[in-house]
């Protein structure tokens, strides 16, 4: 399994053709207390960079973009009942959705953990 990161502060774990997608710890910290999550329906096709989910903190709403193109296979409905999980376990149990990769080549432009850490340094 390989973990990738995006400049939109998402992470994805790729196993075979399936990617599990969530937001990074940095992202949840910037958002503050998460109070609402809207997830995509399984079966929906998402395009790289397109809106896939919504996460709202007390203060504001933010879109979660699809880091790669593909078809949603599952969403983490536990988040809808307990949005605060995003603050507690952003890079683990609080994954947002899984998708079947449409084009594995799209993974090439993404960052690994070290590159993402270096990217965070540049924006702090």
């Amino acid at each position: 399994m390989a973990r990738y990161f995006t400049k939109d502060h998402e992470w994805l774990d790729v196993t075979g053709d399936i990617a599990t997608v969530g937001i990074t710890d940095h992202a949840q910290e910037q958002l503050g207390d998460v109070v609402f999550v809207e997830l995509p329906e399984p079966g929906r096709e998402v395009a790289k960079g397109g809106e896939a989910a919504v996460v709202e903190s007390v203060k504001a709403a933010s879109d979660v973009y699809a880091p790669v193109s593909g078809k949603i296979t599952e969403s983490n409905s536990a988040l809808e009942d307990n949005p605060a999980m995003v603050n507690e376990d952003a890079e683990g149990g609080a994954w947002f959705f899984k998708l079947e990769l449409g084009d594995k080549g799209e993974l090439e432009g993404l960052m690994d953990a070290d590159a993402y850490a270096a990217f965070l340094e540049t924006i702090e």
Partner: protein, 364 residues
Amino acid sequence: MADQLTTPLDALHRELGGRMVDFAGWAMPVQYPSGIIKEHTQARERAALFDVSHMGQVSIEGPEAAAAIERLVPADIQGLAPGRARYTQLTNETGGMIDDLIITATGTGLFVVVNAGGREADLAHLEAHLPDHDVRLLADRALLALQGPAAASVLAAMAPEVAELAFMESRELTLSGLEVRVSRLGYTGEDGFEISVHADHAQKLARTLLANEQVAPAGLGARDSLRLEAGLCLYGHDIDATTSPVEAALTWTIGKRRRSEGGFPGAERILRELQDGPERRLVGLKPEGRAPAREGAGIFDEAEKPVGRITSGGFGPTVQAPVAMGYVENHLREPGTRLMIELRGKPVPAEVTRLPFVPHRYHR
């Protein structure tokens, strides 16, 4: 921001890990590491300390200052006994609002607190209309708000006379050896106090208060969620130059004598709306589900006709559900009325709700 203003507590905010944001030109903490929900709950259950030094504190001295300022506001200020405070608005000629403010009768004059965003314009407005009075921005004063059910016992342990103050009462006293003005009021719906203190002593006072285990710091994020649950208007959002006090459900702030006498800017519209009802009215709204309705969202009736707009909305940490305020056509103002709010292109059912969302717990 190059010329951002800072309060006397700036260093303390940064030391406490406050996340600083720009608010009306000021560097202010939106939250501390504990987060908005914990800070909000702190004010509902114990006592939260807010820095509100960005607000404008103004003194007005001179003969008959109360009668003079009544030419600018619809509240009864002449009837205000020394040591009492009143919430009112600076109205404009068309019956809208230039700002909202608290006016306290000090015995010799008036002590006025205006919003950060309006302080320059409000000061100019006051100076222009009170040429025979000494209108002074108290730029060397900080303002701290201690809000929550434990606030009174925390302050009374330092100055017992604080316990004698009732809601909307204010007096000068010595707190921890410092000369301060303590007013029993706030912007959270809870019992609480605002403390005006010399800028040089603000940090010392804040640290003394924070040393009490009942007290923790809270930022602008919690201040906003608390006031929204309390159904209190935020200038520039729920009220502005176009909204009248009657539309904003602030009729209770218009003095009885003023209703018959008039004599304030925009009286023609405001008195007419008192008589005939306004075209639109600010109401509380509870959307179904968990998705917060934010400022700007359209409100529709059940026939999908647009009937208004959300002016403040978010998630209420105490209510544990989304809460919002907005203007609707006046005939739709009754609690229980079923409406729709458009959230990201989808209609979500919502119900008109009596304000506040969380009962006020003032010390009357």
